[in-house]
């Protein structure tokens, strides 16, 4: 019964989304105020209906209603309650419903906060969001219905993939989708701006907080996924340049470019056309990511069970959204002013360079991700592009960008005034000298020296900037957090990649070995039963200082699916992580152990968190500001011209 209610709510939501896509925009086109006024209530109703459908699915999971095929495939009575809830987005159908639910939530939020926008513009924004939602609701209803019955019902379900039975993995999809789907808002603003009779540059200011919020969520989502891979996959890597990771990374890169170009577009019309394009492409790449994950067209470890008919449906949606919006852009984009010249060294020119580097990086990742497909289609050969390609092409693009992020905020508008950089010269020299000394003493590579120098420069430069402008901290904080986060992140990645050590050992309980100059002892091995798995748990101690570090890696076998999993033990610290994973036992009762020492691993997460926090603060601060000003009816008053920008 619950499932049928959910299905019904889903179909109603589809009807409402179609109405939301058609009526308000028709009203805006023909000047019918009553139809225009429908936009915001429809967004709220749409959100309510999708919420009802999603709640019904959650209820089916909590009860483990195995007569619902999707529940039977992803849950079991053994599964703890928390994971029953998160299992609802553990497969294709449910995660798609989560996708649409988040889209509806963004739409309702935009509706709630768009009282100050011109009514026709707000209506067009809602219409675009409604159209996207209608496409995906139709996709769910026609190809991926999570409420389909399975009769006769099996006695118990197949249980959730053990890899997904983890808090990090439970939170990863919602956060990631919050970001992915959030770019739909920027997309809708851009499309609405293109649909307006007279081009209006103010859309860039209205869209900024939404783009910042989406970017922040995407940063958090990618970070969480990477964090999960690090501790759950059991081999200590955190980024694999897998097609699905790239699918999330591309919108992030382009979204970063968009944030920076929106920061200037209102004041520098030369950035307008480019901003429109970036907003359209950032969401297009989100859709491309959705397609890649769910069609199985590119091989990946993350992919959902692939089904060509689903792939085709998303491809049609992708084609409509991208084709429609870019046709609109080709047709009306030229109304936006053409590019203008900027003095070399002015802040505009540096932001342009930032955009150029980020767009190039996006194209590079896109090429590496789709090249295997192109080779297969055109030449009939299958090949895979792996980490070696990305490791070669990516750092040379990113390091100049990171170096620029200190210079950009110091540069002046319009004029080529790099004198302000002069006080930072000692810092630059110190960063270079420090990096050279470190790389030399540790016998690292040139890349290591370059990475450390850039990281120190970004971190030091941003801290200097923050100190100098501390009076305006409210305004500057988002930028400082995000830029300092990048510095910390670059330092972390460089140091981990160049200094990490890995030891493969074969030890019986009671034996010991030397790891990174210290004694590692295999204390004991014991059985450790869990709620739905059996585990062997090893206790290791690593002698550092007076108190030895204790590590307890496990090997688990999950009951229903009989899947063996490695549960790594990680001793975290600000300067290094010690990462231990337990392999198999050999015939003599000795166990394969892998112990890795990863210096500065925590800095990678800290850097990512700082970036996400910066984005979030920026979005919230932005939101507050126009409210503080007396709001005039139709047009929000312009921002008090800020002396600093907060990209």
């Amino acid at each position: 019964m619950t499932a049928e209610l959910g299905h019904f709510a889903l179909l109603l939501a589809l009807a409402v989304a179609l109405a939301q896509a058609v009526l308000p925009s028709w009203g805006a086109q023909t000047g019918r105020a009553r139809w225009v006024a429908l936009a915001r209530p429809l967004a709220a109703v749409s959100f309510g209906l999708v919420s009802a459908a999603f709640a019904a699915l959650l209820a089916c999971f909590v009860q483990v209603d195995t007569s619902v095929a999707y529940v039977a495939a992803h849950a079991s009575h053994e599964l703890p309650l928390g994971y029953r809830i998160t299992a609802s987005w553990g497969g294709h159908e449910g995660s798609l419903l989560l996708w649409v639910w988040i889209l509806a939530a963004w739409g309702a939020l935009v509706a709630a906060r768009s009282a100050g926008l011109p009514a026709a513009f707000a209506a067009r924004v809602q219409a675009v969001l409604g159209a996207v939602a209608a496409g995906f609701l139709a996709f769910i209803a026609f190809t991926s219905n999570p409420f389909e019955r399975l009769l006769p019902a099996p006695a118990d379900g197949r249980d959730l993939n053990p890899l997904l039975q983890d808090p990090g993995m439970a939170a990863h999809p919602p956060l990631l989708y919050l970001g992915y789907v959030g770019f739909a808002v920027g997309f809708a603003f851009a499309v609405a701006a293109l649909l307006e009779d007279a081009p209006d540059a103010r859309w860039t200011r209205w869209a900024r907080p939404w783009v910042l919020a989406a970017w922040s969520a995407l940063t958090g989502g990618i970070l969480l996924g990477s964090f999960w891979a690090y501790y759950e996959l059991g081999w200590g890597g955190f980024w694999f340049w897998d097609a699905v990771e790239n699918a999330a990374f591309m919108p992030w890169l382009l979204g970063t470019a968009l944030i920076h170009s929106l920061a200037v577009a209102e004041k520098r019309p030369g950035f307008l056309r480019w901003s429109l394009l970036l907003a359209l492409l950032a969401f297009s790449l989100s859709l491309l990511g959705t397609f890649l994950v769910r069609s199985g067209v590119v091989s990946s470890v993350h992919a959902f069970a692939s089904d060509p008919s689903r792939g085709l449906f998303i491809l049609v949606l992708l084609g409509l959204a991208v084709g429609g919006s870019l046709t609109l852009f080709a047709w009306r984009g030229q109304r936006a002013p053409a590019a203008e010249g900027y003095a070399l060294g002015s802040r505009e020119s540096l932001l342009l360079l930032n955009n150029l580097l980020l767009a190039t990086a996006t194209a590079t990742v896109l090429l590496g991700t789709l090249y295997p497909l192109a080779a297969e289609v055109i030449g009939g050969t299958k090949l895979s592009v792996g980490a070696p390609y990305f490791d070669t092409v990516f750092p040379p693009l990113m390091l100049p960008l990171v170096a620029l992020l200190v210079v950009g905020p110091l540069a002046r508008w319009r004029v080529a005034a790099l004198q302000r950089i002069k006080p930072l010269l000692p810092l630059a020299l110190a960063a270079l000298a420090g990096a050279a000394a470190l790389a030399f003493t540790l016998q690292g590579s040139l890349w290591m020296a370059a990475g450390i120098a850039t990281g120190l420069w970004a971190l030091g430069g941003t801290l200097t900037l923050a100190w100098r402008q501390r009076a305006a901290w409210r305004h500057g904080l988002p930028l400082w957090l995000a830029h300092a986060g990048i510095g910390v992140f670059v330092l972390g990645v460089t140091l981990v990649r160049s200094l990490e050590q890995s030891h493969d050992l074969l030890l019986a309980p009671g034996e010991q070995a030397v790891v990174a100059g210290r004694v590692l002892r295999f204390e004991r091995l014991e059985a450790a039963p869990g709620p739905n798995y059996q585990a062997a748990r090893a206790t290791l101690s690593w002698q550092v200082g007076a108190m030895p570090l204790r590590l307890t890696p496990e090997k688990r076998v999950y009951g229903r699916r009989q899947v063996a999993m490695t549960e790594a033990a990680i001793a975290r610290g600000p300067w290094r992580d010690v990462y231990a994973s337990l392999g198999d036992a050999d015939a003599d009762g000795r166990w394969a152990l892998r112990v890795q020492v990863k210096p500065f691993m925590a800095w990678i997460w800290a850097g990512g968190l700082l970036m996400a926090a910066g984005g979030l603060w920026g979005a919230l601060a932005h939101r507050r500001r126009p409210r503080a000003l007396p709001a005039t009816a139709a047009t929000p008053s312009p921002l008090t011209a800020p002396t600093l920008s907060t990209p």
Binding site: L277, V301, G311, F329
Partner: protein, 175 residues
């Protein structure tokens, strides 16, 4: 370039991309058997260092060569299927660790399960060159007389296993 043309560029690029994706999607099912000049020819000799397993002569038996690398994500996904191939087809699967370091290669096998009876190291890609490998993963089936009978590019899916590899191996074993 006139402005109108410039604004058309993103649309045209996107159209080409969508066409590529559509083509890839439709082609995906009808996975054409990769052709290779090696088919019907004697298998090239692998004069390489051993990474793992026992170097036993493979003459007189049907065997499978699989090219992999620790940096290749689809190879990781393919490993359980290869294990199934070895047990259900009762054949030896020989691994060729392409452009990899021995540490990473060994750790990869230890971490994800090792389906290979024997694994060669191919750090410079010499062995792969002799076999005409264009990318990882790639799989070859070699018959009793040491003749290459099949080349499969891309990961072996459970479907490929049931529909192509296992039937062929059965046939070659009976021949």
């Amino acid at each position: 370039m006139t402005p109108r043309l410039a604004t058309l560029v993103p649309l045209l690029t996107a159209a080409a991309l969508v066409a590529l994706l559509a083509r890839g999607l439709l082609q995906h099912d009808a996975q054409a058997e990769a052709t290779s000049p090696l088919i019907g020819q004697p298998a090239p000799v692998l004069d390489l260092e051993r990474l793992d397993g026992e170097a036993a002569p493979l003459q007189g038996e049907v065997w499978v060569l699989n090219v992999f690398a620790s940096w290749c994500a689809p190879c990781r996904a393919e490993l359980p299927v290869l294990g199934q191939l070895a047990s259900e087809g009762r054949v030896r699967v020989v691994g060729l660790d392409y452009r990899d370091t021995p540490e990473l290669g060994l750790a990869f096998l230890k971490r994800h399960g090792n389906p290979y009876a024997l694994t060669w190291r191919d750090p410079e890609g010499r062995g792969s060159l002799a076999w005409g490998v264009t990318g990882v993963p790639e799989t070859f089936v070699i018959d009793r007389r040491g003749v290459v009978r099949l080349r499969h590019t891309g990961p072996v899916t459970p479907q490929d296993l049931r529909q192509r590899l296992l039937p062929l191996i059965e046939r070659l074993k009976r021949a």
